[in-house]
Symmetry: C2
Subunit: 184 residues, 2 copies
Amino acid sequence: MRPSKREELVNKALDVFYRGGFHATGMDMIVEETGISKTAIYNHFRTKDDLILAVLRRRDEVFRNWLFKRMSELGASEADQLVAMFDALGEWFREPSFKGCMFIKAVAEFQDPDHPAFKHSVEHKGLIEKYLLGLAQKSKLQHPETLVKRLLILKEGAINAAQFRSIPAPAEEAKETARLLIAA
Amino acid sequence: MRPSKREELVNKALDVFYRGGFHATGMDMIVEETGISKTAIYNHFRTKDDLILAVLRRRDEVFRNWLFKRMSELGASEADQLVAMFDALGEWFREPSFKGCMFIKAVAEFQDPDHPAFKHSVEHKGLIEKYLLGLAQKSKLQHPETLVKRLLILKEGAINAAQFRSIPAPAEEAKETARLLIAA
DNA sequence: AGATAAAAAGACTGATCGGTATTCTTTACT
DNA sequence: AGTAAAGAATACCGATCAGTCTTTTTATCT
């Protein structure tokens, strides 16, 4: 099956870039870690940047699917789901392989706002915002736009604190703050 | 004056690394942008990593001094100063050269928790936490440790949102949330 | 001013970068 | 089975990486 070969490459490259960073990881390392030869890789992707973009697209898809599914499993009402986002994040943080948000890393390494990796990272955050806004509107909470923006700030902050490991339970702290916002 | 030459190198290197990233910026670029020859640079620093560490130390010093000073200028009481942190952050975000937090970038590029750049970044956040905790304790607010952890999450989240430019006024959103936390 | 020492400039090193050309292996069809 | 066509493995390319060595400049002291 041809397409699965490509997907396998993207999935493995995702792991390698996530662990090692984008610039610091050379294509030779991708070859070594995936077991796929350079020719085969460049048969699927024109440049390293193209591969990175495919990786980011895959990460976007996987992460959003996982997060939204987990939120709906952990929360009953729409308002509950918004709060449950932080429980889901907490599960993510506790995974041994957790190394922070790939899109935060991407904008850190590709700082030009016109770079496709930067733009895609902004899009990813935008799609999450859109989804949260839908939930906030369905629930009858006041000022849904404002609420969502503040929840997003809490989410990003919790992810960062988790990566720095400077706060023992960032998801829980963010969750309590989110509760406060929703109750207000 | 000898030491000022070294400081000038560190200050200029800081700019270049901040704009271009750590791995993506080669030493030749540092030479070009600073006008200081490679020999002179390597006379002061044994390796590129050593230079990067000096840059991070300088950034830590400059940023904390600026932030704490600005907080005390913008806030009267200790509790006010905690809230005013977000006004100061807002000023930072509006600087045209703003490109996010250098320490977030550092942990994104040097992911190994044992790497000196990672450790120094954690230290930086720790020093800020310590200062905020001092303020929270002097003010008679309840649960100062918890409050500070949540304020830090808001701070990190606002910085990230500012870098992504996904939220129009992240400092203001974070500030309002902080008010809520302090009032609670 | 001239000798000497310190420092900086820039050519250069092996290694590695992203990417390609050539060789080799595998597959598919008659 | 034999042959052609497709795909992958690897040797290889110029460019650039971090870092050094040699040469030239600059500064100091008499």
